[in-house]
Amino acid sequence: MSISRRKFLGVAGAASALAIAGKTSIDALASGSSTKAGGGAAAATRWAIVIDSSKCLKKEGCKDCILACDKAHNIPRFDDPKHEVKWIWKEPYEDAFPEQQNPYDDANLKGEPFILLCNHCDKPPCVRVCPTQATWKREDGIVMMDWHRCIGCRYCMAACPYGSRSFNWFDPRPHIKDLNPDFPTRTKGVVEKCDLCEELLAQGKPPACVAACPEKAMVFGNLDDPESEVRELLRKHYTIRRKPELGTHPEIYYIV
């Protein structure tokens, strides 16, 4: 079989045109996703939260961040703790950081409530185990969930070492106290978790919990920007993370 020079050039030209078109559309997609992630001054974005526990503990019994999150995301309320759905919640220091136990710090942190949420790990085990890619890590570090793809196998819940994932054991809709029409509700039989308010970030707003904190104890920002407030806090303070020894690279930092 022979092919004329003219024909060959034609095919080659079409192929390279296709390749250029492909490259452009990939670029367009990539820039699209970065605008969606909120942009920012730095070239890359890696969202993180730094929580100053002394500020957090100032106002006793404060639940403002939790209530703001519940409202923003239509979190159902179940009385039985076994069926609880929670994206952000409180846990005593010794349960949040079991490896940090010190029997003599009664006066200090023992029993003090710490704010916990999804760590949006750099190496998230939940993403690694999901059999349907219903959970994945975005370029900006947010670990996301697709509630329409989730099959409810709960493998991610077994994999998460932070208890950050909740399953809808029952239909959540009748248990939503105060419906937010701007955010979807979920169905029974799917897993859900903190999405770092990606829907607010897309509008250039900070996460609901961060905005709600009366003591400004939670600081949200971009780790990839050396001038960001989170980087400044990490430079100035000694911070700890939950179970860093597991290699998950959690991106929620605690100043203790």
């Binding site: 703790p81 076994k82 069926h83 609880e84 846990e91 010794e94 349960d95 949040a96 079991p98 085990p125 690694r128 185990v129 999901c130 059999p131 349907t132 890619q133 219903a134 793809r149 989730c150 099959i151 409810g152 196998c153 709960r154 493998y155 819940m157 077994a158 994999a159 998460c160 070492p161 932070y162 208890g163 909740s166 399953f167 809808n168 054991w169 029952f170 239909d171 169905t187 029974k188 039989g189 799917v190 897993v191 179970k243 597991l246 290699g247 998950t248």
Partner: protein
């Protein structure tokens, strides 16, 4: 369908048995509809203990399925003739057990209608993807092998040559199903109870004890109820396999206990404490686990002493306690204790509900029905050959 006409001719006793199984299955189906309607909250599972009896039973029956290799390997690789009559029974046991495993996974899903998402979005980094491949492959291999072997037997011809490599392939495949099932659990960073390299070997050892023990019991039941006799030699050889596997299994468990308790790393020891002495006042699994230990210890005596092992009446009892001991260890304890205490050190009680237990019973009944029908067909084929 293929030889199924044999399954619809039977004695009154056969039909009473099949009928009772169908009743159990129907009741379970109603309970499943109830679960489907209301959500998995109708089970005893919770935010902290997010897998329960379904996944635990799945794990146990993957072992029973894999154990078919303990009759296939001696017969086909070592030409061990005493297993010629029971090899197909082992393969049918594998087919039934894998089916049960798939059903246990299915009833555990929050959104079962989306089950095809695992195939639509194949994810090789998930062990569940590989488990699906290994289990469905194993089901396919054993279904093909048993049907081909049985139809050749019926026609009185030698099986086709191409079946031999398929049978050889089924041997490492059996090992793979239980290895990948162990990988489901032991690749999770926050679950120290499962984070042990010996989990897959332990799974295989307990499988090769529980599966052949069940096969011995099935052979004994068949000898009692039908004309079929697996033969003393085959049963004794299976008993020897159970003996070795049970010794290795107990040895592996003791390795785990030593490592966790002597190192005294709190999070490693906590799960064993929960199982054997209770944690924070929660002792719900303690009697079960000690029953498992006592049955395992007694079974070792009855298996190792040749005089006891050769006594078939005693052997039947031994096989029952081997099976029960391993069922408690793997079909309850292993999965629940992986979640208690939680990574946040919470001790959450897990008691399966009536719904959950009924659905489990229904899947057991489906397994028993499959075994009954398959064995009935096999015996009818052989009966015709003798006539």
């Amino acid at each position: 369908m293929f030889m199924f006409e044999k399954a619809v001719q039977g004695s009154r006793r056969y039909w009473i048995w099949v009928g009772s199984l169908l009743v159990v299955i129907s009741v379970a189906f109603l309970f499943y509809l109830y679960q489907l309607q209301n959500g998995l909250g109708v089970t005893g599972m919770s935010r902290d203990v997010s897998w329960g009896l379904y996944i635990a039973q799945f794990t146990f029956f993957v072992g029973v399925a894999a154990s078919a290799v303990m009759v296939v390997l001696p017969y086909y690789l070592h030409n061990y003739k005493a297993f010629s009559k029971i090899t197909i029974l082992g393969e049918f046991l594998a087919v039934s057990s894998v089916t049960m495993c798939m059903l246990f996974i299915f009833v555990d899903m929050g959104q079962p209608m989306r089950v095809m998402n695992i195939i639509l979005h194949p994810t090789p980094n998930s062990m569940m993807f590989w488990d699906m491949i290994s289990l469905s492959g194993y089901l396919f291999l054993n279904a093909v092998i048993s049907l081909i072997m049985l139809s050749s037997e019926r026609k009185g011809v030698a099986p086709p040559h191409w079946i031999k490599p398929v049978i050889i392939l089924s041997i490492p495949w059996a090992v793979s199903i239980h290895t990948v099932t162990a990988f489901l659990y032991n690749g999770l960073p926050g679950r120290s109870f499962w984070l042990t390299a010996i989990l897959a070997p332990r799974f295989l050892a307990s499988a090769f004890a529980a599966g052949p023990a069940l096969l011995i019991l099935l052979a004994m039941i068949m000898r009692k109820l039908t004309w079929f006799d697996a033969g003393k030699e085959a049963i004794q050889k299976l008993a020897l396999i159970v003996t070795y596997a049970m010794i290795i299994n107990v040895f592996f468990i003791l390795m785990e206990v030593f490592t966790a308790l002597y190192s005294n790393i709190p999070e490693d020891a906590a799960h064993l404490k929960f199982l054997f002495v209770g944690l924070e006042g929660n002792t719900e699994l303690v009697p079960w686990m000690w029953a498992s230990v006592l049955m395992a210890a007694l079974s070792l005596v009855l298996l190792i002493v040749p005089r006891y092992r050769r006594n078939e009446k005693l052997l039947a009892f031994t096989c029952v306690i081997v099976f029960l001991s391993l069922w408690i260890d793997k079909g309850i304890g292993l999965i629940i204790a992986g979640f208690v205490p939680s990574p946040l050190e919470a001790v959450t009680s897990y008691i399966p509900t009536l719904t959950e237990i009924s659905i489990v019973a229904g899947i057991w009944a489906i397994g028993m029905l499959m075994i009954t029908v398959f064995y009935k067909i096999t015996l009818s084929v052989r009966e015709n050959l003798m006539a």
